[in-house]
Symmetry: D2
Subunit: 158 residues, 4 copies
């Protein structure tokens, strides 16, 4: 299978890989040698790295932070992970993300890894902080509209 990796997958590409339709955003990759630990499977922290990489691309694509030295800082408040089935060297996978709810200056996100069955799920609570140290950086109305439309997120900012 040839899938792009430098840009998010299209809906039909995700369908073709078996990713459930409620995931609006995904990227393809392959397990690397450095992600394998002494137990000969993917280390539990590697999944968090995958979600982190995807989050950077997601924040750019959703217009929340360009990660170019401008825009809000994307700070993690909490994360959680559930490991479903171990992964091995060379496996292809799709990692997915969506915002399930947002508040004034924070997002609750879900993540998953498929290969193509579900291997791991994660959550993160993310706070947007002003780069000048002045405190939280609120979401704009345009950003909220995109999260409502593209992710089906719940607006908890009221």
């Amino acid at each position: 299978m040839t899938l792009p990796y430098l840009t998010p997958l299209s809906r039909s590409q995700m369908d073709g890989f078996g990713v459930p339709p409620d995931w609006p955003f995904g990227l393809m990759d392959r397990v690397r040698f450095s992600e394998i630990d002494a137990l000969a499977h993917v280390n539990h922290t590697a999944y968090l790295r995958w979600f982190e990489s995807l989050r950077v691309l997601y924040m750019r694509e959703r217009g929340i932070s360009p990660y170019d030295g401008t825009g809000p800082l994307i700070v993690l408040k909490s994360v959680s992970m559930e490991y479903r089935r171990e992964m091995f060297l060379g496996e292809d996978y799709v990692v997915t993300a969506r915002t399930v709810a947002f508040r004034r200056a924070s997002l609750e996100m879900h993540y998953a890894a498929f290969a193509p069955d579900l291997r791991a799920e994660g959550t993160a609570v993310i706070v947007l902080m002003a780069r000048d140290g002045s405190g939280k950086h609120p979401l704009t109305d345009a950003q909220k509209a995109r999260l409502l439309e593209l992710d089906g997120a719940e607006d908890a900012s009221g």
Copy 2:
């Protein structure tokens, strides 16, 4: 401050650093350059690495797995983290662990990082698997007794 690092801290050493008395197991370390990310603070995955390192030592000290190619495999089922306050290059910290409950072949563990105020907290559910692939590897009575006595863990194995 000069503290040993190759062995777990004593209770009085943890008291001296300000670690609350309900943490029975801790180790001292210092934030390294490779743990700092593009936001100039400790990356969220580094805490999980600290907890992983401590877990290896803990499993040895509690007599659960020697990590020498024998004994059960220590497999993560889930993890969670709460980040309280960011950490920076060169900060000294104590990372702590305890088992709060155990079942027949699994443990629910808590972790924390102090510097010396609380910087991050974590949980993990760990399953003991037989090395030969035959399935779960039950805790022995002696192991359960140690978890009850040293950690004050709840016995949910009944």
Copy 3:
């Protein structure tokens, strides 16, 4: 630009990215958040991770080791790196590899990273070891023939 990443680049794809013609083997990727260090550029060890990932694929494609629990162990004897120009978050690059010489059970390899100008160069001396601990694992004649033909490697095994 859309380039494949799950398989080695073709010669024309490498030409299109500006990779010099003496590199027979390359892969496309993009700088990730976790590869950026406190100096806001790609950490020096990340390049070695790129070369390691490429080496695994290279060893499979050249028929030297399948990395599936069979075949020789690929052990590093030495590495070196020269850093030409720093790299930043989100940059696309092509990482390349070739064997410049081989002996009875070892290879001297060169590596580079282009984005698209040369950012870093590396070397590695690799020893093939038998998986059963019995010592070195010699290259077969078929493997030597491939290294001569595909990489233009020097045969120093005589």
Copy 4:
């Protein structure tokens, strides 16, 4: 063995561990789970992380850069490594550093890891860059004097 780790080892501590007398600067540590790769030994990049961590402490102790947002940037121009004997989970080691020569705004450093026999050796060429982007940041006479006295470095700055 109980050895301090938050400060450089004394000469007698290094003697006690078997570190040759021409190494003026060393630190004790222990192999961690996250440093072990799929071959069940310390990954080749982990040694470079050890040298990096030691370099940060060395630059502070030699008064070259405080790593606190002031002082010159410590930029790697090249590195090399020779692997002598593999290392395993839980091994105690001493990692050592010294400057063998310096120029106007650069240092040639050597590194090693002992456990207690020599496991790996490395070199690095480091350039001091001004933090404001104005170019190289020359060594002061006081810094040169310390490198001459403490490391026995060659002065190639003339």
